[in-house]
Amino acid sequence: SQTIHQWPATLVQPVGSPLSLECTVEGTSNPNLYWYRQAAGRGLQLLFYSVGIGQISSEVPQNLSASRPQDRQFILSSKKLLLSDSGFYLCAWSEGTTGAYEQYFGPGTRLTVT
């Protein structure tokens, strides 16, 4: 069966510091991968998605970037964090080729920028 991991689970970082959040998927090949941010009391905002190694699409302009160095690894980064980057970050995957449309989510990383 497929599993998705995110780490760290929680993170407190000062303004201006760098960020690296990691997501890995097991049990599937060539998945579509997604990064979402969920601000307190709000819905999910799609930040990036990827359909293959090295292929990243950005949904909104922002202070963050994403990379996919391996088929089942997705990284969210920032060079200098802003207070507005605080939130709950969720990674998700979906089947890349079979026509199954649902996404499956990881446990999330709660980021607090101080």
């Binding site: 997604y34 819905g43 998605y49 989510f105 999330g108």
Partner: protein
Amino acid sequence: AQSVTQLDSQVPVFEEAPVELRCNYSSSVSVYLFWYVQYPNQGLQLLLKYLSGSTLVESINGFEAEFNKSQTSFHLRKPSVHISDTAEYFCAVRRGGYNKLIFGAGTRLAVHP
């Protein structure tokens, strides 16, 4: 442009009472609809989905949702809720290629004893 509207931000209900969480969507293409549940400080879990076929879809824990094309709705219902159903519920519609989803703002279901 596709969008999802969840009409209630919070729904308080007593245990064993019925509940309906409302979701309306707008889409100009084939519709694939989903309900997800999120417990505090956790990721989202797929509750149920409508892709095609029967307009009434059910989950394993007693929830059901009905796709209504004429009313562009996909409301979630449960005839008798439990304390453990307390969570946030998100409605979503598939948006274009690569299985991207658009989510509603969420409905917080609070079940009281």
